[in-house]
């Protein structure tokens, strides 16, 4: 990740983003033990945590759709302005301004893993993501029991 930011050739539109990225990367190293001068006081690293319920949805066969009320909860160590986006449902979006936590729920039908992201308010950067996994249980079949002796077979 650090190399990506350091080696990327900045374009006019990406300068601001990459600058932030490098800062975040350096701060990240700082928090994990990089040496700073005594005069440098690193800003607190924002820890962002996103949790979804349910985490799994089990459907039988390949045809069935998982319909569930998906609840998303997030919290952060610092106040942030974020938007929650469901990747496969771009019409579902919910934003918060300078909050340290938030919750949102939506009824969603989906057949594949449902990816939920927390992005910045420009919707450009994904700050955290989580997904509801869809487990397809193969439907097993048995041959019908034939009862030719029976009156009603």
């Amino acid at each position: 990740m650090l190399l990506r930011y350091l080696l990327a050739v900045p374009t006019r539109s990406s300068i601001r983003r990459n600058t932030i990225g490098v800062c975040v990367a350096i701060l990240g190293f700082g928090s994990s033990g990089a040496v700073f001068g005594d005069s440098m006081v690193p800003a607190p690293v924002a820890e962002l945590h996103l949790e979804l319920r349910p985490r799994l949805c089990t459907v039988r066969g390949d045809e069935e759709v998982c319909s569930a009320r998906v609840e998303a909860r997030w919290n952060s160590t610092v106040g942030q302005s974020l938007c929650l986006v469901i990747r496969a449902r771009p019409q579902i979006i919910h934003c918060w301004t300078q909050r340290r936590e938030g919750a949102f729920a939506a009824d969603v039908s989906f057949q594949e893993d449902l990816l939920v992201e927390l992005r910045d308010t420009d919707l450009q950067h994904t700050m955290a993501s989580a997904s509801v996994r869809v487990i397809h249980q193969a439907t097993e079949y048995r041959r019908k029991r034939r009862r030719p002796w029976s009156l009603f077979d």
Partner: protein, 272 residues
């Protein structure tokens, strides 16, 4: 209580079969074959007009009007109306199971017998015998034992060897039948034929009369012609006619007047 000889034979056979073929699967392909999904209950009801004749003297025919059906398929357990079973081995053509099934003859004696539920309205629901009362009023019997079914090129076969585990008759039954398609277009015209063999103990339990009549075993062949036409994914037209010839062991009984038991039905079946 001593273990009946029947069970002394069957228990080791069942365990051996179960161990030897525990992983056998039918490999049913739902797109091409008639399959049930495992873990599913199936409910349907047939509504129409028909009757089952009653061979007992002074017995009246049993109306067939509303006939519910329920079945369940587990990985090994299954339920088909009043029959339950456990499949020990299953392949694409063969299936070996242990089943428990009621003794069907009691339906001739009592309207409120479970087999007659829904097929006709009973005015007072009392246990009124249809015909002359034999030496003892037949109680509910349950027969249990191995079943072999097979399917080959549209022909289905069934062979049951069942023992009265309730101990009321102390006898056994063999039920065997084949079913073959005659004409298959949009609907299916088929024929079934088979027989029921009842040991002397079973025949005597139902049709014997104390000091007057002690019958031997019976062999009762039957033939059935049926037609099934799908009308929609849930509706199906069903019709059949079945004729069973009763052996002398049964028809010679003083409480029996007919030498046959026949059934006809035509109606529609709705699958829920």
């Amino acid at each position: 209580m001593p273990v009946p000889s029947f069970l002394r034979i069957m228990i080791p056979v069942a365990i051996s079969l179960s161990c030897a073929v525990a992983d056998a699967q039918s490999g049913c392909q739902p797109a091409t074959e008639e399959c049930d999904s495992i873990g599913t209950w199936y409910f349907s009801v047939s509504v129409g007009a028909g009757f089952l004749t009653n061979p007992l003297a002074s017995g009246t025919s049993i109306p067939l009007i509303v006939i519910p059906h329920v079945s369940y398929r587990g990985k090994r357990l299954f339920v088909d109306d009043l029959e339950v079973g456990v499949t020990l081995s299953e392949s694409t053509r063969h299936s070996f199971s242990l089943i428990a099934s009621p003794g069907y003859d009691r339906a001739f004696f009592y309207r409120e017998d479970l087999q007659n539920v829904f097929v006709g309205a009973d005015i007072n629901g009392a246990a009124v015998p249809y015909g002359l009362t034999p030496t003892q009023k037949p109680k509910v019997t349950v027969f249990a034992g191995p079943e072999w079914t097979f399917q080959y090129e549209g022909i289905a076969g069934q062979l049951n060897w069942l023992y009265d585990v309730t101990g009321r008759s102390g006898g056994s039954e063999i039920r065997a039948a084949l079913r073959a398609p005659l004409l298959e277009t949009h609907g299916l015209l088929y024929i079934s034929s088979g027989f029921t063999w009842k040991s002397a103990a079973v025949v005597n339990y139902y049709y014997g009369v104390a000091t007057q009549y002690s019958p031997g075993s019976s062999l009762d062949p039957f033939v059935k012609l049926g037609y099934s036409l799908p009308l929609s994914p849930r509706w199906r037209f069903t019709a059949f006619a079945r004729y069973e010839r009763l052996s002398r062991a049964i028809s010679d009984s003083p409480i029996v007047s007919d030498q046959y038991a026949a059934a006809v039905f035509a109606g529609c079946t709705y699958a829920f």
